[in-house]
Amino acid sequence: MRYTQQIMGMPVHIEVDEQYKTAVEAAFAELRRIDEMCSPYKPDSQVSRMRSGQLKPADAPKELHDIIAAIEAWNKKTKGYFTAHLEKGFDPSGYVKGWAIQRAADILGKAGASVYLVSAGGDMVLQGKPWSVGIRLPQQADKLAAKLSIQNGAIATSGNYERGSHITDPHTGQSVDYFASVSVIGPEIITCDVLATTLFAMGETYQQQADSVVPTGYEVYCITPDQQALYTPGFKKYRAD
């Protein structure tokens, strides 16, 4: 059974056997709770209150401190490419999405479900059977660039095609459009999500940097603006074209 709700400004899909309906509701509730805590767009969220100075970091809940610590660790691992310290203020959204998906998946797993899917905004955890997953062709919303089969793993895709290419690299003044999208497949969603964002931002410097950033067991599939695919050799094992 497929359940869908709009949370964190994006559709969230959970697919699992109907007998786990209670767990599905708990998973959605957890995602809404995380959104209430972390959304930079909700004025009452703890993140917004930290940004405005109403909430002192010392008074923030441990959970938020853990998120900040995790983001800092990723910031070091990615040489600054992944960060929550934005010009507009602290925004952990780039990390929270993958973390929230994992939390929701854990709720289903603890309830006893073995076959399930949790997807938020195109990033997902896939458990218990070979799920058929398409990677969207950035240039055409109704087309797929690749068809995969993923069992007991995760995939995350980053791109800027929904909002147009307006990201610029301050070093060159040029738009960051080296990749149209970057997908990362691997055992764990948070890493996939963070890496997809990071590698997208690295753009043309991918190869110099990827070696120290991409752990063994994670595969990358990039689509360029002129519709070439660039992928790591191990990506082939997921292909179901």
């Binding site: 990677i135 791109g159 800027n160």
Partner: protein
């Protein structure tokens, strides 16, 4: 401009890949190493390289020898255009079920290029940056403003 950047990018990918191959080859008996897939070794005629260029090569398509590693074969083909590496194709890869962590460690981040054959096949679900939060874009912009690609 985009093409130049891409070539430089792929050139780096190939150099990294070849470095990996040579490393693997070097721990095999010497006779296997006599034909490494390095027909694109930088020539001594190379002019001073621009900042993002690794080296210049002779134009053409070069197919490296098939290297018989004890856990499988590996072979690459390299296309050189205008002195730069335009593409690399892995013609043969070792068995994916091999337990060679060493090769896998090199192979993991290297990108292979191919044209996309777009398809509309039915799937359970689609992965794509279809509905990301505003924070995602902000994160990228901020990261780039801090990043030093070196």
């Amino acid at each position: 401009m985009k093409q130049v950047i891409k070539k430089a990018f792929i050139a780096v990918a190939v150099v990294a890949g070849i470095a990996g191959l040579i490393f693997v080859v070097n721990y095999k008996p010497p006779e296997v190493a006599e034909t490494p897939a390095t027909s694109s070794t930088p020539t001594e005629m190379a002019p001073p390289a621009p900042a993002k260029t690794i080296g210049r090569y002779r134009d053409g398509t070069y197919t490296g020898s098939e290297l018989d590693l004890h856990y499988g074969s590996i072979q690459v083909s390299v296309v050189i255009t205008d002195g730069n590496i335009a593409s690399i194709t892995m013609l043969k890869l070792p068995n994916e079920h091999s337990n060679s962590r060493r090769l896998a460690a090199y192979a993991t981040p290297i990108l292979i290029k191919e044209a996309i054959a777009a398809q509309s096949a039915e799937v359970d679900i689609v992965s794509g940056a279809t509905e990301t939060s505003n924070g995602f874009i902000d994160t990228l912009q901020s990261a780039l403003s801090q990043a030093n690609p070196g």
